[in-house]
């Protein structure tokens, strides 16, 4: 089947040429045409497009800001109604050094834990028969002083 198909084609190079030519045709030639910016509305699309990206994220920003303020106000009112003290400016931040120290401590703590202990003893007596290939004497770069 394959052999039959191959015989239909002229040669291997002809096949390659066809593939390369078709890909080149699809992609076209490189040119320099500044006028295309206006002709194809490229400038307009860019300006409007960039503006819309900004608008979308600006709206999202405004929403989050409003949501945060609303939530804080509600929490404040709830606390006032309960008669509890309000600490809206409580700083919950932790300095980087403290975070690093906590991380280190946790890491050390978990590293020293052994949830499952292996009960299999793995100590084996190994015989080391003499071999000139591993002999220390032959491995010395300098002969010992006699």
């Amino acid at each position: 089947m394959i052999i039959q198909e191959i015989t239909k084609t002229d040669s291997l190079s002809a096949i390659k040429d066809t593939v390369i030519q078709s890909s080149a045709n699809t992609l076209g030639e490189i040119t320099f045409a500044p006028e295309k910016l206006l002709e194809s509305n490229g400038l307009m699309i860019s300006i409007v497009g960039y503006g819309i990206v900004f608008l979308a994220l600006l709206l999202l920003y405004l929403f989050i800001r409003t949501l945060t303020k609303t939530l804080f106000t509600k929490q404040k009112k709830r606390l006032i109604a309960k008669g509890e003290s309000i600490h809206p400016e409580v700083d919950l931040s932790v300095p980087g050094e403290v975070t690093a120290a906590i991380g280190m401590a946790i890491n050390l703590y978990f590293d020293s834990q052994h949830d499952i202990e292996s009960t299999v003893l793995t100590i084996k007596k190994v015989q080391r028969p003499y071999s000139p290939w591993s002999s220390k004497l032959y491995g010395l770069r300098h002969y010992p002083n006699k």
Binding site: G28, L37, G42
Partner: protein, 381 residues
């Protein structure tokens, strides 16, 4: 004897071109960078190996059904997910399930940095138009500036499928090269005083805020840019799975097993799509150059906008302009770059959390930009 000749004609040696050698070398370079330099190994290993697979020369167009562009081949079936834009939304689902938007919610003004960095997309779009690409091709090339591989693949699959291989490779290459490309631009545009600015630590964010954000985020962004629905829909869905706290199993699958499977398939097929016979053209090289320019402009755009914002901010409200560079959506690489640059300037100034805000906002911004470009240009297709 005829049989032997026939066999020899089918071997890779008989079909070998210098283009294949170049591509094989690029594949090996990607693998080297991934292993030795640890530049985005999760992406570069599949892509690099995919390049090797895609550039083993074979006798094309004779019904062997082995090449990625040959209908019926296994690789062609897997590549279907790329050409039809199936993989990118699935990747976004995983990203959503992995992303913590707390940094953004605690300081929402940083979201504007994610918008500012998208300037690279639109400037490169114009540059590509001037260089003779069609509107659709120019849009697909411009999106490389978003530094978002899935978005670039998604948009090019819709607007310029013929460029998908080159665009995907360029986008992922620049994402992997974030630690090389961004630092010089950031240093060039900022002074020493600006680089050591300490930002107010982020506040704690309530669960209600975290749950509301994906719902409102979806509604607001996709009503403006419906073209981004497949990407943003999945992103926010994944995030709701995570933040709701009641779908841990689904969130775990989306953020671990599923995103890993899709990353493997996407990386491998994108790499294999760089078959030398169709990939090595002057246009591909031009796309690489435009992609680099786009990425550099996007980085600069974010940093400059952060500096402009500082003109209106006082005291501890001021932002470190370096985090503007994280407005490109290479998550979390650009944020990590900013963190390491910050630590170099001041060993106790941790910027990672602050930089994550524009970084995740950049993901939303680039998807919105892709949707807008689709909205403008799909009519003409």
């Amino acid at each position: 004897m005829d049989g032997v000749t026939q066999f020899l004609r089918f071997t890779s040696f008989a079909n070998f071109t210098w283009g294949h050698l170049v591509m094989l070398a690029i594949g090996c370079l990607f693998i080297f960078l991934a292993i030795k330099k640890e530049y985005e190994p999760l992406l570069l290993i599949p892509i690099g190996f995919g390049i090797l697979i895609g550039n083993i020369p074979f006798f094309e167009n004779v019904g062997l059904q082995i090449g990625i562009y040959e209908e019926g081949s296994v690789l062609n079936y897997l590549y279907f997910g790329v050409t039809k834009g199936i993989y990118p939304p699935l990747i976004f689902l995983g990203i959503g399930a992995m992303t913590d938007f707390s940094a953004l919610l605690s300081n929402p003004k940083l979201m504007l940095l994610g918008a500012a960095a998208q300037v690279g997309i639109f400037l490169t779009f114009m540059a590509a138009l001037v260089l003779g690409f069609t509107q659709e091709q120019a849009a697909a090339i411009g999106i490389i500036g978003g530094a978002d591989g899935p978005t670039a693949i998604f948009l090019s699959s819709r607007l310029a499928p013929e460029l998908i291989g080159a665009i995907a490779i360029a986008a992922y290459s620049y994402m992997a090269l974030v630690p090389v490309i961004q630092p010089p631009i950031i240093k060039l545009l900022t002074s020493k005083e600006e680089r050591v600015i300490r930002m107010k630590p982020p506040r704690s964010v309530s669960k209600l805020e975290k749950i509301l954000f994906p719902i409102v985020g979806l509604l607001l962004t996709t009503f403006i840019s419906p073209g981004a629905l497949p990407l943003l829909g999945m992103l926010f869905f994944g995030n709701l799975l995570k933040e709701s706290g009641v779908t841990k199993r689904l969130s775990d699958t989306a953020s671990k097993a599923m995103i890993d499977i899709v990353t493997i398939l996407l990386g491998l097929t994108v790499g294999a799509s760089t078959q030398a016979t169709t990939f090595l053209t002057p246009q591909s090289i031009l796309i690489f150059v435009l992609g680099a320019v786009s990425f550099a402009i996007a980085t600069a755009g974010g940093v400059i906008f952060a500096k402009v914002m500082n003109l209106f901010l006082k005291g501890d409200e001021r932002i470190n302009p370096m985090i503007g560079a994280a407005g490109v959506s290479a998550v979390p690489d650009s944020a990590r770059v900013v963190q390491s640059l910050g630590l170099k300037e001041d060993s106790s100034n941790y910027l990672l959390m602050h930089a994550m805000a524009p970084n995740v906002s950049g993901v939303i911004g680039s998807a919105v930009a892709a949707g807008i470009l689709m909205g403008f240009l799909l009519k003409a297709v």
